[in-house]
Symmetry: C2
Subunit: 216 residues, 2 copies
Amino acid sequence: MQKINTNVSLADQAYESLRQSIVQGELHADEELREENIAKQLGVSRTPLRDALRRLAMDGLVVLRKGKPAKVATFTMEDSLHLIEVRSLLEIHNIVTITPHITEERVQQLRENLFAQKNAIKDEDYESFVELDREFHLLLTEDNPNTKLQELIHQMNSGDYRAFIILSNTLSPSAEVAYGEHHHILEAIENRDTEKAKETMEHHMANIRKRLTQSN
Amino acid sequence: MQKINTNVSLADQAYESLRQSIVQGELHADEELREENIAKQLGVSRTPLRDALRRLAMDGLVVLRKGKPAKVATFTMEDSLHLIEVRSLLEIHNIVTITPHITEERVQQLRENLFAQKNAIKDEDYESFVELDREFHLLLTEDNPNTKLQELIHQMNSGDYRAFIILSNTLSPSAEVAYGEHHHILEAIENRDTEKAKETMEHHMANIRKRLTQSN
DNA sequence: ACACAGTATACTGTATACAGAAAGAAAGGA
DNA sequence: TCCTTTCTTTCTGTATACAGTATACTGTGT
């Protein structure tokens, strides 16, 4: 029998739904989000919707203006570069920490994720690829005992998501390159080669930055 | 004429009030926060209170458990060490970035802050010292163009606040040492000596960690 | 034509009511 | 005595109603 999912509140669902819409550009930057309006579209009341909006504000995806309708946050190239700068710092530190201690189970998950990435590229399903990319980086943090670091990397990756909108026109070639970089990272981890893992991650982060700046 | 304060919602006030209560230990770790109960105590309805609780959860000061009352988060030594690990990463990166570009105005602010620190110690006003300490580190980020990094360092410093509760018994000797370290940092910055600034900050962060672990 | 007051409207902030889940107490059976 | 089950209570999740504020509009006076 299938267990009914009682763990996902309406607020959770509203959050996820709006997040998708923003990230995928369905809601354009600076668009006003009138609570009653959006709530009706999602089929929930304002209460869970407002909850979702607050969370999205924390993620930097919307801006709340007291007394006025919330807006979809604008996300500039500059923001994106700031984000990747911090993200580099955290992800490089993370991979150095976890490489010696990573579990075989995690490595297996990473292999499977990478396989799925390959398929997504083959199918030209770049939406899935972006999601898998994110998952790949989150998996890398799982074995890090520093939960605070984990949390921040999660945050960075969610925010970074929006950079892919900027990149959407160049996503097809980017995905292949990114896949290759992910592959190198996993290879280094499989060999428990910390120095190599660090290098490949540095390289990956630098390239993400490059792809960003070159896209405009 | 005095402008009427229409900018602080009940939710804001509830947030600030609860934050104070938690940070100052008035609400002890693991204590259950029943919404109706707390709301009544604060003299507001559940709606703004819940808003406040969500925000506090984001700050890591309370934990929400779906369907069950929220709890005041426990803040362990381990958490504290995780925090300082990430904070080190960010603060060291920051100081390397800003030292060559710091404005004379900022240096002056830092000098004044340091002077106030000295006075707080002389007056044995450690509550003020903790606040000035925090301000010192925030001032260091002001000239960093990376607003995301700024934001995170702010976050880290607010969270760290709670570590000082743990430390409260050993605050008196710690403050003097911390003051000395701040002094060295400012000195390096005044000379626009990036390498030295990095070293002094590394030293400072390592010592904060040491003080934490030695306090138990 | 323009400035300005007054009014209508649309939105958020807040309170409250209701439904359903979780925890605890009481009752029944082995 | 202990386990199980049911009932009661208490809590959160959600919907909705209401109040107050900001904005747009309309009309009036100059």
